[in-house]
């Protein structure tokens, strides 16, 4: 088998800690697929957006420092708090977390990269496009001004006619795509690429929290994707999802948003919990107390996090039963959270505590998140929440958990892993200063806001009257906010000095417990010279201080040249950047001219096909079986299909929720052609049969039969699409359109999106058909046909549900 010239095959250097030569040109960064570099790209971008969001916050606080202020207009203020929230959540905290996922998780599990390095790069470039697009709205004078939560119908074309909301929609969709792609990648990586002997329960807690977060992302983003599609269609195509006059329910947006939004807050905090769970044991020199319990509580929080979303809607009028149910569910979630905090305290108890800056920030999280979590418990009681929600009390709560929790955790991680990532040490003196100024500034900024909320200051107001007693606390809060700014500056000085002339970092500066400390700082391109078998959690600690086994167990990387084989490193690729640019073009087209949308979509498709085929038939990529005896690509497809369950589930639920609420006709039973649809259903079912025959053919290497059945499947898919096209056009002729009524909106969008999935499947099958024709699809490529098949069968299965729930059920 020939080796593709673009692959780099490395033999591990004989000396531990030697850095492989990696060029540092701009091009090398644009095309990198190395998880460490991608981590740094995420971190740098996150920091830039964090500064931007911070400036937005400081302007907000300046405006609110005194009553009846006119530093900024009402419009600008509304834009500022919208952009501040959206930026901090999606462009600062999430990518900071992604920095750690990328750089550290493969090291923690003893892997050399993630399962899909090029997909990893794709996630980053798509994220950057999304972030730049959102902030480009400042330059056009039309940033969104509807709040980061954009409640319908304030976001309708009627009440928000400018481009702002459109910028917001497109950016969020793009950012969502980035996150979900990364989620699939990391789930497969964590499940399938662990070092030998690393069972799930031996994984570091940070990796567990990452795993839970990735599932949350994969499953929580589809509902908001659908909600945003509804909004986009309302704005661009006259549908009625959030149109009260047509029978729409404004609560629908709130539900879809918060079904995403609540898991989102766990997405934001769980990584910080994971970081604390690594930092505390390291600096207490003890294992994490109750590690299994901490892991289970993280899993429980993630799972139950899907069941509490309407606690954001206690004032919305859902009725006492719903209020009570969500209240109890929310209180229940407090239990595993509290358990974590107690376990952290018990970790410190009896330890030998070294107070590094990283530990300071971790301890800060423990204290501040306790406060934020407790104010959250207050919000869990609807009667109390009716006074606290939409006031500065909840603003205090969310900043205690997001800054006191997430940001302090992120800074703990930065101080902890900086040596590993950069090969330098951050100054501890400046670090302490950084911490204390941030701690004091943060508490001064946000503790008074509990009081402000308690004396009735609503949130999202650009100014306030002077006779309400809110003046002094607002001024204090503003001063504190600037304190946070100063702390960030101190950090920047610390970082700069470290990078310019900081002390070089040894591989294991903290006497760490986990595998990332087992390689050089920073790691070589191939991460580890050798990967030892793992016998417990805290594998490295056990290696250093645990029971002595035979010396040849892989302990120490030096002089183990005889143990390594040729290490395959993923080659750089232009593909991710190209795809991201295509998406940018399409989004810009959505804001300007439809021709650009077409060009952007075509570009994206072209770039995606090239991307998919870039390493087709590369021998190193043939076998991707992982720890769970499942091919990476197959596992990825299953995870993606899980995510799609949420996507179609949301669409179907909306259809059923809106059924019977159209103000004008026609109604379903008046317009459906059941016999015809039965035929198309039968056709799709048969296409699945043809698909499994195609898979069987490719598995036994029968090229002609493969082509026959692939073409057959695609053909049947086209027939299905033909039926659908016929159905749509006949409906339109009868006056039943997308815009006709609520039924039209929900029906055409649901079946249209399903049809789009079918069309993508047909395209995919035709690509495979062409590959086979050219002799480039053999038994070794069977897994590629298999995953196409899984996708195809899933689309079929969704139709089974649609046929029954939409067409048949009266």
């Amino acid at each position: 088998m020939s080796v593709s010239p673009s692959d780099r095959v490395l033999h591990a250097p004989a000396v531990a800690g030697a850095r492989a030569d990696t060029p540092s040109t701009v091009l090398s960064w644009l095309t990198t697929v190395d998880h460490k570099r991608i981590g740094i790209l995420y971190g740098t971008s996150a920091f830039a957006f964090f500064l931007l969001g911070g400036i937005e916050a400081l302007v907000i606080r300046l405006q609110l420092a005194v009553p009846d202020n006119s530093l900024v207009s009402a419009h600008t203020y509304n834009e500022l708090f919208t952009m501040h929230g959206t930026t901090m959540i999606f462009l600062a905290i999430m990518p900071f977390n992604a920095m750690f996922f990328n750089f550290v998780v493969p090291l923690l599990i003893g892997a050399r990269d993630v399962a899909f390095p090029r997909l990893n790069a794709l996630s980053f470039w798509i994220f950057l496009v999304g972030g730049l697009l959102l902030n480009a709205s400042w330059l056009t004078g039309a940033p969104p001004d509807v709040g980061w939560f954009g409640y319908a119908n304030l976001t309708s074309k009627h009440y928000a006619p400018g481009l702002g909301v459109d910028f917001w929609i497109f950016s969020l969709q793009i950012l969502g795509a980035s996150s979900v792609i990364a989620a699939v990648n990391f789930i497969v990586t964590i499940l399938n690429m662990r070092a030998p002997g690393m069972t799930m329960m031996r994984m570091p807690v940070f990796v567990w929290m990452t795993l839970v977060v990735q599932f949350l992302i994969a499953l929580a983003f589809p509902p908001i994707t659908v909600g945003l599609i509804f909004l986009m269609f309302d704005r661009f195509f006259g549908t009625h999802f959030y149109d009260v006059a047509a029978g729409g329910d404004l609560h629908l947006w709130q539900h879809l948003f918060w079904i995403f939004g609540h898991p989102e807050v766990y997405i934001l905090i769980l990584p910080a919990f994971g970081i604390v769970s690594e930092v505390l044991p390291t600096f207490a020199r003890k294992p994490l107390f109750g590690a299994a319990v901490v892991i289970y509580s993280g899993v429980l929080i993630g799972f139950f996090g899907f069941g509490v979303w309407s606690h954001h809607m206690f004032a919305a009028g859902m009725g006492p039963v719903a209020d009570s149910a969500f209240s109890i569910a929310t209180m229940l979630i407090a239990i595993p959270t509290g358990v974590k905090i107690f376990n952290w305290l018990a970790t410190l108890w009896g330890g030998a505590i070294r107070t590094t800056t990283a530990l300071h920030f971790a301890l800060g999280l423990v204290g501040l998140f306790t406060i934020g979590g407790l104010s959250g418990v207050m919000h869990a009681s609807p009667p109390v929440d009716l006074q606290q929600t939409d006031s500065y009390f909840v603003v205090a709560h969310l900043h205690y958990v997001l800054i006191g929790g997430s940001l302090f955790g992120i800074f703990a991680g930065i101080y902890y892993w900086w040596p590993k990532m950069t090969g330098r040490l951050l100054g501890e003196g400046l670090g302490r200063l950084n911490f204390w100024i941030m701690f004091a500034g943060f508490n001064l900024a946000f503790f008074p806001q509990h009081y402000l909320g308690a004396i009735g200051m609503p949130r999202r107001i650009y100014t306030y009257r002077p006779d309400l007693g809110w003046n002094a606390a607002n001024l204090a809060s503003t001063i504190g906010a600037f304190g946070i700014g100063v702390a960030v500056l101190v950090f920047m000085v610390n970082a700069w000095r470290s990078l310019r002339r900081g002390a070089p970092a040894p591989p294991d500066p903290w006497d760490g417990r986990t595998l990332e400390w087992r390689t050089s700082s920073p790691p070589p391109a191939h991460d580890f010279d050798t990967i030892p078998p793992v016998a417990s959690r805290d594998a490295f600690w056990r290696e250093k201080y645990g029971p002595r086994r035979s010396a040849a167990g892989g302990a120490g990387a030096a002089g183990s040249a005889s143990h390594h084989a040729a290490i395959h490193l993923p080659a750089p690729s232009h593909g991710p950047l190209m795809i991201a640019l295509g998406l940018l073009l399409a989004a810009v087209g959505g804001l300007t001219h439809v021709a650009l949308v077409a060009i952007g979509v075509l570009w994206t498709i072209w770039a995606a096909v090239r991307f998919a085929l870039e390493h087709h038939r590369a021998p190193e990529h043939a076998d991707q079986t992982g720890v769970l005896a499942l091919d990476h690509r197959k596992m990825a497809m299953w995870v993606f299909l899980g995510s799609e369950c949420f996507f179609f589930g949301t669409l179907i639920a909306t259809f059923l929720a809106y059924k019977g609420r159209s103000v004008v006709g026609p109604a379903p039973h008046e317009i459906f052609n059941i016999p015809l649809t039965s035929l198309s259903t039968f056709d799709l079912l048969m296409s699945s049969l043809l698909m499994v025959l195609a898979l069987a053919a490719v598995q036994r290497g029968d090229r002609r039969q493969t082509r026959l059945w692939l073409a057959g499947t695609a053909f049947f898919g086209l027939i299905f699409l033909g039926f659908q096209a016929y159905e749509f056009t006949s409906f339109v002729h009868e006056g039943f359109t997308l815009q006709r009524n609520l039924f039209g909106s929900t029906f055409f969008l649901l079946t249209g999106l399903h049809g789009t999935h079918v069309a993508i499947g047909v395209f995919w099958l035709l690509v495979l058909w062409v590959l086979d024709l050219r002799g480039r699809l053999g038994a070794v490529d069977a897994v590629k046909v298999e995953i196409a098949g899984l996708y195809w069968h899933f689309v079929d299965v969704v139709w089974i549900a649609i046929f029954t729930l939409v067409y048949l059920i009266p």
Binding site: A74, G147, Y151, L154, V244, D249, L250, R285, K286, P287, F289, G290, A292, V293, A315, P320, S327, M331, A334, I335, V339, I341, G350, A352, I353, T355, T356, L363, V366, G367, L368, I371, L374, V377, M378, P383, V384, L386, Q387, D390, S391, E428, R432, N443, L444, P448, G453, A454, I455, G456, P458, R460, I461, R465, D467, L468, G469, A472, A473, P509
Partner: protein
């Protein structure tokens, strides 16, 4: 390697709980313990607010207690188990303790039960259907003002709601444009105004007085300028108010007020505003008894000739994006109209 441990012991003492306490003290000091601020959520003046405050107090004390326990625990642990750089220890590598885990899972659960029980009770009690003798008030939230309609009394007014003390008031909330939220903290929690849904809020105000409220759901440019007043009257005062609302407007005295009426009647004002006997526009607030109100433009300004004239002349200057257009009146005309409106008691 980490340095600066000389300051260590002092740091350990000046730490999380101390700072939090300082923060608390600072806040209380700054606030001057002004818990009876005009929009305080902890000064209950109705049965609804009182029910809420009952649960609020229970939860507050519990959470403050827990915060102190955790804070003190954290501080103590940090002081007690500091490592000495000159004599580093390898502590016992304890992994866990099942009984402890069970205990600190059950304990929070019990605490939450203590919170949950009054919570559920109050939810159902405060959302029960209003009694038959409740005064029905329809609240319509507009961008950016409040309309109040009393169907049983045939009274329509805006931005200032009067209710009788000691009698249940049943609000139904609706709106023709976007989502708003009705919030008068001293009279209870908030309830959203959701177009297309009929939400309810029921309370019995106890003490006569004037209470301030504000819209509490972001509703566009002038969300911050959508205040309101709820005046709780003793029953006879309320009856007088109702009578005044229903009375026919008195002819204005000759002079500026009469001029103002004439200007009003011939301007676009009549397209949006109702003054009984003069006009019947339905897009803006009913002005029939404008002069009886204490504030202007949804609670953002006091009512004087100057403020009303300024508003009439250029609404958007005082309330960004106000739907009421500037009609190009001169200062003198604006003052005349203001005088007329203030005379409408």
């Amino acid at each position: 390697m980490p340095s600066g441990l000389a300051r260590g012991t002092l740091e350990a003492a000046v730490d999380v709980p101390t700072k939090a306490t300082c923060g608390l003290a600072l806040t209380l000091g700054l606030g001057g313990c002004a818990w009876d601020a005009p929009m305080s959520t902890v000064a209950a003046r109705s049965d609804l607010a009182r029910d809420i405050l009952h649960v609020y107090s229970i939860i507050t004390w519990i959470t403050v207690g827990i915060a102190l326990v955790v804070g003190v625990g954290l501080a103590w642990v940090l002081v007690r188990f500091r490592d000495r750089p000159d004599a580093p220890r390898m502590p016992a590598q304890t992994r866990g303790h099942t009984l402890l885990e069970i205990s600190w899972t059950i304990a929070p659960a019990i605490v939450l039960l203590v919170i949950a029980i009054p919570t559920i009770q109050v939810i159902f009690r405060t959302q029960a259907a209003p009694t038959r003798d409740a005064l029905e008030v329809r609240v319509l939230g507009h961008q950016w003002w409040w309309e109040f309609r009393y169907p049983t009394l045939e009274v329509v007014t805006a931005n200032e709601m009067h209710v009788p003390a000691g009698r249940a008031v049943a609000l139904t909330l609706d709106g023709p444009d976007v989502i708003h939220s009705f919030w008068v903290p001293m009279l209870g929690g908030k309830r959203d105004v959701v177009p297309g849904r009929l939400n309810r809020l029921t309370f019995t105000a106890e003490t006569p007085g004037e209470y301030r409220g504000q819209c509490a759901e972001f509703c566009g440019a002038s969300h911050a300028n959508m205040g309101m007043r709820v005046v709780v009257d003793a029953p006879d005062a309320f009856a007088r108010w109702v009578a005044a609302q229903k009375a026919e407007p008195v002819e204005p005295a000759a002079g500026p007020a009469a001029d103002g009426k004439a200007i009003f009647a011939r301007s676009a004002c009549v397209g949006c505003h109702t003054i009984r006997g003069v006009s019947s526009g339905a897009l803006g607030p009913d002005l029939t008894t404008f002069g009886s109100r204490h504030t202007l433009a949804a609670g953002i300004l006091p009512v004087t000739v100057e403020t009303v004239a300024a508003w009439v002349k250029d609404p958007s200057a005082l309330k960004p994006d106000a739907k009421m257009p500037a009609l190009g009146l001169t200062d003198e005309q604006a003052r005349a109209v203001a005088t007329y409106l203030i005379g409408l008691k």
